[in-house]
């Protein structure tokens, strides 16, 4: 699995766009909207190598924060200049409002690509990168408000361990969110999806990234992953409550959510 992602890292974003016809962006947007983070949220994004979820999180929190600040400024109309100047100096006007995201991935190349992307796109504060294993996270207990793993958990050897670690590092009240390929129940869509997966995707992989095998692996790993209900049960086994899932694109992708109480 490691080598697949080593060779895939650089072309990751391009391949995602071509394979999913750009729809992966929508899926990720939906994930962050579902999360609906408020400023001050601490997010752990696992297997988030190239930073897709992290950047969306930061954008979301920034815009929520801007709206908050605008509302507050409107109420400040009656303050003296002195008071206004003072409030600018306080932390109250931090653009991220203390939100932070830690991106953890097992693959160095993916992290480096993500870090570079962050620099290129101008993301600096509130973002950290850690090389780590989802089955053995280097984080202390009860630390994070949200744990996300987008298109990463199917590559973990011991999914149960990753789920247990997710539970451990979340604060009580924290939320687990997983965006992953899932199972299509509609027979027609399923046939079309299979055709696309096995005929088109590896070819795209060869043409764009010069790598048929890695993309064939990706397609196979998708098929091996447990369907919605089974994965839901696994999440419950790890201790999460109120576990449910939302199908996207006919079940090609699903967002599973759970809470630590």
């Amino acid at each position: 699995v490691y080598q697949v992602f080593e060779s895939v890292a650089k072309k990751y974003d391009v391949m995602n766009d071509s394979m999913s016809l750009g729809i992966h962006r929508v899926w990720k947007d939906i994930l962050v909207h579902k999360m609906n983070p408020s400023p001050g949220t601490l997010l752990l994004d696992v297997a988030g190598g190239t930073g897709d979820i992290a950047f969306r999180f930061i954008n979301y929190v920034r815009s929520v924060r801007e709206r908050q600040l605008q509302r507050r400024l409107r109420h400040h109309q009656n303050l003296s200049w002195q008071e206004i100047a003072e409030s600018y100096q306080e932390d109250k006007f931090k653009s991220l409002g203390d939100s932070q995201v830690v991106v953890c991935d097992i693959n160095k190349e993916m992290l480096k690509a993500g870090k570079q992307k962050a620099q290129d796109l101008g993301y600096s504060e509130g973002l950290s990168w850690v090389l780590g294993n989802a089955e053995e996270l280097p984080f202390d207990d009860d630390k994070f408000d949200v744990y996300t793993i987008a298109f990463g958990i199917r590559n973990v050897t011991r999914i149960d361990l990753a789920l247990e670690e997710a539970y451990r590092v979340l604060k009580p009240g924290g939320r687990f969110l997983c965006l992953e390929f899932s199972h299509v129940s509609n027979p027609l869509i399923s046939r079309l999806y299979d055709l696309y997966s096995f005929q088109v995707i590896p070819v795209l992989g060869e043409v764009i990234a010069g790598d048929w095998k890695s993309y064939q692996y990706l397609v196979e790993s998708i098929r091996r992953f447990p369907p919605q209900e089974e994965f839901k049960a696994m999440i419950e086994d790890a201790g999460f409550f109120k576990v449910d899932y939302q199908n996207l694109s006919f079940g090609i992708v699903a967002i599973h959510s759970g809470f630590k109480l």
Binding site: V102, K108, L131, N133, P138, D140
Partner: protein, 90 residues
């Protein structure tokens, strides 16, 4: 010996040995959450070698390009007296 490191504003920075690692400092807020993945116990940041040390188990995790490598297999044991450089690369 002083190596000119590329990190922002920090004059020190012993060259952490192996060629590809730059002495980029760790994001300080990370130290709040990071623990040893094996024992889940706190770590000590060693500025001289740019590593995160677990004293109890005697292992050190390298920080490369500002990214801490918290994979147990990549950690170096600190027990025997190694030279300061030479953190293992995965």
């Amino acid at each position: 010996r002083r190596a000119a490191s590329g990190s922002q504003g920090q004059g020190q920075g012993s060259g952490s040995g192996s060629g590809s690692s730059s002495a980029q400092p760790l994001e300080p807020s990370l130290l709040r959450f990071l623990v040893c993945p094996l024992s889940k116990r706190p770590l000590r940041y060693e500025e001289a070698t740019n590593e995160l040390i677990n004293e109890e188990l005697g292992i050190a995790y390298p920080i490369i390009d500002g990214i801490p490598n918290m994979i147990p297999e990549a950690a170096r044991t600190t027990r025997k007296k190694p030279p300061a450089e030479g953190s293992k690369q995965p």
